[in-house]
């Protein structure tokens, strides 16, 4: 290594640019493959004065990687940075600014601020865009400079160039997302020009607009009805209903309402174009905007756009499916026309398969239940236990909604139980238990069949045993053969899992209540064993049950009530892989927990809601009111304006 250092250093010291480049390239290669090359720092940093752009860029790349370690040496090169930021070539200016603000030393923040103040007035849009990016880097270093940064940001938001505006929206979102007052003046430019932004700026613009729209606009779906800009009479009526005492100035309220609705219209109409984007992230963000801001009547567009990406690459497909799952829970009507996009392929990864199944269950209705039931039946025999479980649960869920499928479901569950695969038996038994629990009249033959299987020893897994014991204890405690089941359970008691042991305790108590004489011996034996069990839960349960049964604290009838009253029915729910309260499309939504930096979606501002309303009239509506009727025409003219014209 030492030899190598010497030779690289010699090359770097050489006045020949080719030698320098050769050394820098080798160092970059080492750096990118993860080798620590910080030992070259003093030699590389000297080369920052080079006139060759490629040498400069490689030096910048190197410096950004190791700057934190070598703060003192960096300070020596600050002069060169400052000189480059004032270079005549805009490209060098931009690169120097990027590199300088990329150095994560709080010490340099004031110097960066001065540099940014100068370059915000640069003649070239590209440099100004880099400036906008620089703002948020400085903010991350030193949050106390917020006010001066916002000043520059305001200046950049006024920029006519789209690439600068895109960059400044990013800075806005990271520095002061709550300052909606800064956006009012630019709102319409952003909305109309969003089509011409680059994809990533579109993404930021959409996120901002969704937040902005929630705070500034009226809820288009109030009272479950959606109102449109054409039905202004309808909205007046709504308002009258909301404000029966005419406490507020009706005239003003109507104005505000119409304004907000029209603006909303403009937003939706312009954003509609972004449904055509090739970038999945943009499309998802538009769908979100529609989902959170549009009247229900326009939701159908969401479904079509989102389903296009279900057949995309697996990671993209997965992200879309998770969002569809959450949306379809509240608004299945968006996706029911596209039901078939969610059918499971054998080649899908497991997560996608499971998400698809829960979407299918969300979409279940009268007209598609026959197709879906057959699909679910197929999934329930799959070789993958998880998929099989989802299929079986789906079948039971189907029956809970459509009781006429009870017999068919029973039949397919029986087929599972008769197979030889343990997991199939397990899933089948658990599902049967759920099914019986939810059905009004318990079919004794099934319980009898299961107990026979249990006696034969073909029910081995914990979950399945639990189900069988519970079923027999709950519904067949009076039958003679229940004792046989008890016998078998007692025989194997020592080798059982703790969970099953608990269930056996319950089981034996239930039988005891119904049939005191014949089960007394078993009860005594098991209680004896359980009292000395290692597991505290089991010991405690024994204590509880023995005081209930053996002691005479309460009457026999009451004991019967405690143990054998019909348990309340819990309908199986569709297993959900996401949390529907979290904002769609976020990392938090995907992980089902709030991640650092997560922002809630604000609630719709109640337009007819006291003082907040009037404040808005003064600040936003009043200032926009003059232009608002022009707005309406411009919506129409907008359709005609060609794009990509500055």
């Amino acid at each position: 290594m030492n030899k190598a250092i010497v030779s690289e250093n010699r090359l770097l010291d050489s006045s020949n640019i080719d030698d320098n480049l050769q050394a820098l390239k080798r160092i970059t290669t080492l750096m990118s493959s993860g080798v620590d090359v910080s030992c070259f720092f003093p030699f590389v940093v000297k080369k920052i004065v080079s006139d060759c752009l490629e040498v400069k860029r490689l030096v910048y790349l190197y410096i950004l990687r190791y700057a934190e370690k070598e703060a003192e040496l960096i300070l020596m090169s600050v002069n060169t940075f400052q000189k480059d930021i004032k270079h005549t070539d805009p490209f060098i200016r931009a690169n120097a600014l990027r590199a300088l603000t990329g150095i994560r030393l709080k010490l340099l923040a004031p110097i960066m601020l001065t540099a940014v103040q100068g370059s915000a007035r640069d003649f070239f849009p590209y440099v100004r865009k880099i400036t906008a990016h620089a703002l948020l880097k400085i903010y991350a270093l030193d949050a106390t400079l917020k006010d001066s940064l916002i000043e520059i940001l305001i200046q950049l938001l006024h920029d006519r160039s789209l690439i600068v505006l895109g960059g400044s929206l990013l800075a806005f979102q990271n520095i002061c997302p709550e300052r909606h007052d800064l956006l009012h003046a630019h709102y319409r430019t952003i909305v109309r020009r969003s089509v011409d932004f680059d994809e990533w700026s579109q993404l930021i613009a959409l996120q901002l607009l969704t937040q902005y729209g929630r705070v500034q606009f009226a809820n288009p779906n109030r009272d479950g009805k959606s109102f449109d800009n054409s039905s202004s009479e309808g909205s007046v009526a709504t308002l009258k209903a909301l404000d029966p005492d005419h406490k507020w100035n009706m005239h003003l309220i109507i104005k505000v309402l119409i304004i907000t609705i029209i603006i909303n219209r403009l937003l939706l109409e312009c954003m509609h174009n972004l449904f055509y984007s090739r970038n999945g992230a943009v499309v998802l963000e538009v769908c979100k905007l529609y989902y959170y801001l549009a009247p229900y009547s326009e939701f159908s567009q969401i479904g079509r756009a989102m389903c296009r990406f279900v057949a995309s690459r697996k990671e993209i497909s997965y992200s879309f499916l998770l969002n569809i799952e959450t949306m379809s829970k509240r608004h299945p009507e968006i996706f029911t026309p596209h039901l078939q996009s969610f059918l499971v392929y054998t080649s899908d990864p497991l997560q996608i398969k499971l998400t698809k199944i829960s979407i299918l269950l969300n979409l279940l209705n009268d007209s598609n239940v026959s197709i879906l039931f057959n699909e679910l039946k197929m999934y329930s025999t799959n070789e993958n236990p998880k998929l099989c479980e989802a299929g079986v649960q789906g079948l039971v869920y189907c029956v809970s909604l459509f009781p006429k499928y009870y017999k068919l479901c029973l039949k397919s569950l029986f087929r599972l139980i008769t197979s030889k695969k343990e997991y199939l038996i397990e899933k089948g038994t658990v599902a049967l238990r759920n099914l019986l629990q939810t059905s009004p009249k318990v079919d004794m033959r099934i319980v009898r069949y299961l107990s026979r299987k249990y006696l034969k020893g073909s029910i081995k897994t914990t979950e399945a045993q639990l189900s069988v014991l519970w079923l027999v204890g709950e519904f067949a405690y009076n039958e003679n053969w229940a004792l046989q089941v008890l016998q078998t359970a007692v025989k194997n008691y020592k080798n059982l899992d703790d969970e099953v042991k608990l269930q056996v305790l319950n089981f034996v108590s239930k039988l005891h209540v119904a049939n005191v004489e014949s089960s007394a011996e078993y009860l005594e034996y098991i209680f004896f064993l359980a009292k000395n069990d290692q597991n505290t839960d089991i010991r405690e349960r024994t204590c509880f049950l023995s005081s209930l049964l053996v002691g005479s604290l309460i009457s026999a009838a009451e004991v019967h009530k405690v143990l054998l009253s019909r348990k309340s029915v819990c309908f199986p729910k569709v297993p959900s892989s996401t949390n529907r309260d979290l904002v769609l499309g976020t990392l938090s939504h995907l992980l089902k927990r709030k991640v650092c930096g997560y922002r809630e979606l604000p609630k719709f501002s109640p337009t007819a809601g006291g003082s907040s309303l009037r404040e808005k009239v003064t600040e936003s509506a009043e200032s926009q009111y003059g232009k608002i009727w022009v707005e309406r025409e411009s919506i129409d003219s907008l359709v005609m304006t060609p794009q990509h014209v500055d």
């Binding site: 390239k25 290669t29 990118s32 070539d89 805009p90 993209i316 992200s319 392929y345 990392l587 794009q643």
Partner: protein
């Protein structure tokens, strides 16, 4: 924002790292590697670790793992990573481990140009190619002789104009525009041969080498076919909504102009059928018999046919004879591959023989499935036809060409 990117090969070596903010130790990849070891085909795109979130994609045997530390739309990261791979493919014609290792410096520079402080800066390949020239042998030689470098000395023109996807000053001696209409049939066919679900995913990929600033208009005979479309940013949405024509100033080189989706609501022709018979009884030898034939192909031949049968786990081996093509059976993954090639209508491809079954296994509930691959040249199965291509803004006459291809996308038959 994306903090760091790690590129990992299939055996779990981290061979490239790039940090856009402070350095994150590569030990964070251990969480990913663990998932990769557990099941390389089923890695969750998002993995949460105590302090970081790993968002990853896999393409061509290489994994790209982005590290984030706070709230971010996961899809944004995923789309970006795919764009990174697309760019590498555009630069080096492929994106494999050895290519990345050969081009460490260019790749490192590219990554730095594409993200600034964790947010995308320049992702259009036309702009990037002006900033950092793709390597080729001629240029490498020229550079050594003249002492020039691969890095641009000036600001790319695209960054200055309103058409960021196209550079100015493009010149060709032969002006050509080629359009490939590619349609992929996605379908699920059930046991009895009935179509459960079928739809078409279509693309138009272009290779456009035209001088100057051509303004193109592409129109279709039957544009109403499209159910849903997405465009390259160069396409003017308004013209599409009003007239159903594609009007655009193209980027230079290869790009995907439009992807479209013809969904199951319209009738989709299924160009191929598979007659299958798999009879197995417990404890005996089973028999397999497959015949493949063309269905609705509008008189075209079906080519490059490949069949993959995903056999149930209980099958140990297959001894078959095919009257055409080669077959092999992988006893580990339980997949039977049968490479058929072209289908001759007079003698339909058939494969038959016996399969051996593990003793004691239950065969009542098995549902194997068949994946089918095929290609049909000179046919767009949806019936889509390009009407004409007009060029405005330039004087010369370009050479124009359209090619149609139909392929199987995810074409699955349940047995």
């Amino acid at each position: 924002m994306i903090h760091s990117l790690f590129i990992i090969n299939s055996s779990g070596d981290v061979f490239l790292e790039k940090h856009w903010r402070s350095v994150i130790s590569r030990s964070v990849c251990d969480y990913y590697l663990e998932a990769q070891r557990a099941n390389p085909n089923d890695i969750s795109p998002v993995i949460a670790t105590p302090h970081h979130y790993l968002i990853s994609i896999q393409r061509g045997g290489v994994s790209f793992v982005a590290v984030c530390m706070e709230e971010i739309p996961p899809l944004f990261v995923i789309e970006f990573l795919h764009r990174v791979v697309d760019t590498f493919q555009d630069y080096f014609s492929d994106c494999t481990e050895s290519i990345i290792k050969e081009n460490y410096v260019v790749i490192y520079e590219l990554l730095d140009e594409m993200l600034d402080n964790g947010f995308p800066l320049a992702t259009e390949s036309n702009i990037l190619k002006e900033l950092i020239k793709p390597p080729n042998i001629l240029r490498t030689i020229a550079n050594t002789v003249t002492g020039k470098t691969n890095v641009s000395e000036v600001l790319p023109t695209g960054q200055l104009s309103n058409i960021p996807w196209r550079r100015t000053g493009v010149k060709y001696t032969n002006n050509e525009a080629y359009f490939d209409v590619i349609e992929e049939v996605d379908a699920i066919i059930d046991k009895s041969g009935a179509t459960v679900f079928a739809e078409i995913q279509g693309y138009i990929d272009c290779c456009i080498k035209l001088s100057g600033m051509p303004d193109l208009t592409l129109s279709f005979m039957n544009p109403r076919l499209f159910d849903d479309v997405s465009f390259h940013p160069c396409v003017r949405f308004k013209r599409w909504e009003a007239e159903r024509v594609l009007s655009f100033i193209p980027p230079d080189g290869n790009f995907r102009l439009i992807s479209y989706h013809i969904s199951s609501q319209s009738v989709v022709a299924i160009p191929i059928y598979v007659r299958h018979n798999l009879s197995i009884k417990t404890g005996e030898q089973g028999r397999l018999d497959l015949t493949v034939g063309p269905k609705q192909t509008l008189g075209r031949t079906v080519e490059a046919v490949k069949i993959e049968v995903l056999m149930p786990k209980c099958i140990l081996n297959c001894v078959l004879t095919a009257n055409q093509g080669k077959y092999n059976f992988d006893p580990v993954s339980k997949i039977l591959h049968w490479d058929i090639g072209r289908i001759d209508v007079t003698k339909l491809p058939n494969i038959r023989g016996s399969v051996s079954i593990a003793s004691g296994s239950n065969t009542a509930e098995i549902n194997p499935s068949i994946n089918v691959h095929f290609t049909i040249n000179q046919l767009a199965v949806s019936g889509l036809k390009v009407n004409r291509l007009d060029m405005y803004g330039e004087k010369y006459k370009p050479f124009k060409g359209v090619k149609y291809i139909t392929k199987a996308g995810r074409f699955q038959i349940r047995m």
